[in-house]
Symmetry: C2
Subunit: 312 residues, 2 copies
């Protein structure tokens, strides 16, 4: 009912990184794609097969040093239901290796529908009396635009399991301020309001390291706001996108962490997945080793700024 398990994995590996698995075909070595296309043709099935092979290779090289993965649903849905199957199999494989899985779906809806999303992504589905796990992640990103009754069904599921959610607060993209930075009459901004809602919702899911099971997505591309929000949202754990390809560096992430060096997990997707494309003369079969090297570089980069991660 909190992010305790994620925080423990971060402390154990002394690495506050989550590897984003957003496997566009353009990021996958040609030899993998060729093998899959030989079996299934240039089809959705072929693409999904290549994605799963690519992901498993990455997970094999990352699981001992990186605590978590974050598959982005969009990059699986674009390969149809075959892609959704590859998403589910990727999640199962990462969990079998002991990784924490954050499903990046940014789901949102009214209460009755959020019950379905909660069952799908964090709980189990009742099939005429038999409970079955449909997708099986450990945490889900969600959008809070619909308010409390779009969040409550997730809290109910998280209470009964070892799960959590990350609510979009201040996103990493260039136009995030169009709505999120606007000020209400009292001077509070939209992102500050949603942040405060996270603190409120989090009271239902307390954790033993001071952070609840309701986290917030706050981009590394807006470091001042990251620092400000860390100061305001004492019990809200952060998922920080924007490191690497989106322009954020370790210094930009520093504000997300507390004095014990915990309080956030920093995502890198393209930086890790596409590392192999940036090494001159690399054998593409070593793509996962290149990802591992980049993950180690990133870990050390963050460690230099944050210091040791201590459990309270």
């Amino acid at each position: 009912m909190s992010f305790d398990r994620l925080i423990e994995k971060i402390a154990e590996k002394q690495n506050p990184t989550v590897a984003g698995l957003d496997p566009k075909l353009a990021y996958i070595p040609q030899y993998i794609k060729d093998e899959s296309f030989a079996k299934y043709g240039k089809t959705l099935e072929g693409a999904a097969d290549a994605i799963l092979t690519f992901n498993k290779g990455l997970i094999d090289e990352l699981f001992d040093i990186v605590p978590a993965i974050k598959p982005q649903c969009a990059y699986y849905e674009m390969y149809g239901w075959y892609g959704f199957k590859a998403l589910t199999e990727t999640i199962a494989y990462a969990k079998s290796k002991g990784m924490f899985v954050i499903t990046d779906g940014k789901r949102n809806d009214i209460g009755t529908t959020m019950q379905a999303y909660a069952a799908a992504h964090l709980g189990t589905t009742d099939i005429d009396g038999t409970e079955v796990e449909a997708i099986g992640g450990d945490a889900l990103t969600v959008n809070g635009y619909l308010g409390t009754d779009g969040i409550s069904p997730l809290l109910d599921i998280c209470k009964n399991g070892d799960k959590g959610i990350f609510v979009l607060v201040k996103t990493s993209n260039p136009s995030s301020g169009e709505l999120q930075n606007l000020e209400f009459k009292g001077g509070e901004t939209v992102y500050q309001r949603v942040g405060t809602m996270c603190e409120e919702w989090g009271k239902e899911l307390p954790g033993k390291y001071g952070y609840s099971g309701v986290g917030a997505v706050v981009g590394a591309t807006y470091p001042e706001m990251l620092t400000e929000l860390r100061g305001e949202l004492k019990t809200t754990f952060f998922l920080v996108p924007g490191y690497g390809a989106q322009g954020g560096g370790a210094k930009d992430c520093e504000g997300a962490f507390d004095k014990n060096g915990i309080g956030a997990v920093v995502n890198s997707s393209r930086g890790i997945m596409c590392a192999w494309q940036k090494v001159d003369g690399l054998d593409p079969e070593d793509y996962a080793k290149a990802a591992r090297n980049e993950a180690i570089r990133m870990r050390d980069d963050l460690r230099n700024v944050i210091g040791e991660m201590k459990l309270g």
Copy 2:
């Protein structure tokens, strides 16, 4: 690049209804489930098989009188990738019957990721030079919290096809006001601001009946706001949830329509799907006929209030 096709179907059938297909197992007659469970067991595969049978039966009875369906992704994802396959097959079947398909996914993300969602739900996916349709809806519901660069990739895809999006403006749920009704310094509310953004985004996708390809979701449960927004957002077509099970009636929807009786499509999910459960002594095999009867009742209920739907 607009909702012209949807508007023409509405005028042709003189029916501004979209049938929400949110097939929880509890809504499906036992005889359908028993047949599927006999083949596949009480599994995700069995559930997905029952859903598809149920949906096809509904579509067969609705396609000549209802212009559109709106499958809600959550109710497919809760049955895993088998459910996602049933979603895709439901969409294909409805399209083969000439229906307009609004995929209710409320997707949202940063620009690069929205390219993937746009390809998945409204466009095609490039598989090493071969373009393949992954899911195949006509329109997608989206959440505008991330601002313009989370919407632009959808506009680009819609420009090149006959597609559109519906952005959440004022949602139908009880707590929608927690964020959406808050007032900015100038007096504008969050939902009004997002509505104005829809008008701006819509300029890229003009339609011949006065409505762009960027629509807005506005709930029938807040009829005053529906009327207010119709007045303000002249070129924004509305998707109106909340009729029926959520408590809205035809009178509550009236404000969504213009003087020609167009401007909106009204959703009913449980009202139509579960109609069979409300008829005493009904043979469950007549579930789809009960849905048809309810769809006719709803059409006439709306027509009584709106009058004739005229194309300009």
